[in-house]
């Protein structure tokens, strides 16, 4: 909104300072516009979950826990497992988060992560069917934002992906209508690695992986989830600002590039 003269006077002081800095090509924490913070991924941190991961992007921390349970399929997809993603913004993560049922921000972010996984067809849900029409694996992905220093959505999406990639579910034996859980385990059938990358627009500048102080002054954030092939499987503009038309492809290019880097980290999880 920075080009609208009437709004000029409402630009908060921090934004002015940040813009001045950005005009010199530098970000507040010294990063380049297209530079992601250091990403750390730990997996299998909770033994009681089928899969789990903690992702740190700088000081931002998210964990994801995967629980798999046998349940009923949806009537319109009787031969497919079910994926359920939810995100809680823990009150630990920020003085501005309240405990309780998810607010619109938590709902939006969990739906971005969910869509990234679902629309990319990352999970071969047909292989999660145990007894057609009766028993399928229901995969719960519960994400916790634990420390909020900006860009929770990427941390959440990467944590969800890492937890899913390393999760183990029991093998089963079907005897008539009965399902027996075996001791042996197998992975969740993942055929894609959809990685969300968020770009913030501050004034006219696009910066990747915004920090908390950048988010606080950004006009808009856009999260794009891309696949190895270059396909984009989910886009979400968030925030009450605007984009120029050429921004769309610029953001795509940033998201795809950074997605590749993160995907290479995930490859090391084995």
């Amino acid at each position: 909104m920075a080009d609208l003269s009437t709004v000029e006077e409402f630009v908060p002081i921090q934004q002015k300072e940040l813009l001045a800095l950005l005009s010199t090509g530098v970000r507040e924490d010294g990063r380049k516009f297209d530079e992601y913070r250091k990403v750390e991924i730990q997996t299998s941190i909770y033994e009681k979950a089928n899969g789990s991961a903690m992702v740190k992007i700088g000081n931002t921390v998210a964990v994801a826990g995967v629980k798999a349970e046998l349940g009923e399929p949806f009537p319109d997809t009787p031969n497919e497992g079910v994926l359920t993603v939810s995100l809680e913004l823990l009150p630990h993560a920020s003085p501005s988060f309240e405990p309780g049922p998810p607010d619109e921000n938590a709902v939006e972010m969990s739906r971005i992560v969910d869509r990234g996984l679902r629309e990319s067809k990352a999970i071969k849900t047909s292989e999660l069917c145990v007894l057609p029409g009766k028993k399928v694996w229901v995969i719960y992905v519960d994400i916790y934002a634990m420390d909020h220093d900006g860009n929770i959505v990427d941390a959440s999406g990467i944590a969800a992906l890492a937890a899913l990639l390393t999760a183990k579910i029991p093998e089963v034996k079907v005897e008539g209508e009965d399902v027996v859980l075996l001791e042996s385990t197998k992975g969740i059938p993942m055929v894609e690695r959809p990685v969300p990358v968020t770009v913030a627009k501050i004034g006219d500048y696009l910066v990747v992986d915004p920090s908390l102080s950048e988010e606080n002054v950004a006009d808009v954030r856009v999260t794009m989830t891309t696949l190895e092939s270059g396909i984009v499987s989910s886009i979400q503009k968030s925030g009450s600002g605007t984009l120029e038309e050429p921004d769309v492809l610029k953001i795509y290019d940033l998201a795809y590039e950074k997605g590749k880097e993160i995907r290479s980290l995930l490859a090391k999880l084995g």
Binding site: N105, V107, V222, G230, I231, V232, I235, V248
Partner: protein, 242 residues
Amino acid sequence: MSESVVLITQDGVRLDGRRIDELRPVKMQVGVLKNCSGSAYIEQGKTKILVAVQGPREAHPKHIALPGRAILRTRYHMAPFSTDERKSPAPSRREVELSKVIREALEPALFLEEYPKTVIDVFIEVLQADAGTRSAGITAASIALAEAGIPMRDLVTAVAVGKVGGKVVLDLNEAEDEHGEADMPIAMMPSLNKITLLQLNGRLTRQELEEGVNLVKKGIKELYSLQKQALRARFSGAQVEV
């Protein structure tokens, strides 16, 4: 998203006879309700939506008020009878998300700073859902806001593009949304050429993304002129009805 249905012929003709870059039939009316500040009704294909604006009015409870500007609140909601299967009236997570992105699509157009300490409510009720409800809701909401006399930088106009049978097409209907490969709703302030809403569900290549953004502008241009026409009809005193 199975391809067993042929959604589009080799010649680029869609199931309902439309061309790739053709909108569904659209009907818009402004001022259809008496007991609100502004209202609009839109039909886009079989999608039918009623929008009302209440406000600007004093914020309740008072502590939510902002000293320097109005608060914009939006509620996107689907009637229980709007869908093939009856929808529970309790707001779903999808409705919560859409209420948020719709608010963020409208807000850049409004001079909210002209109404400090107040609330402006936009209520979008989907009476029949046949794809494109969020974009049609935005299109109608912005003319309802105009009727309510809220000063705006530009109208906001929205429509989806999508990928169906391998082709990028304009303004999906429900069958195309369900069996197609991607759905990308976009809202713009047409005169200012700024994007205020951008979402994608589905799978697009970089090139299709580019194509989509170009195609959507054609639809937005046509809808923009229908919006202005509806506003002119309202303010020229023509009789309008729900």
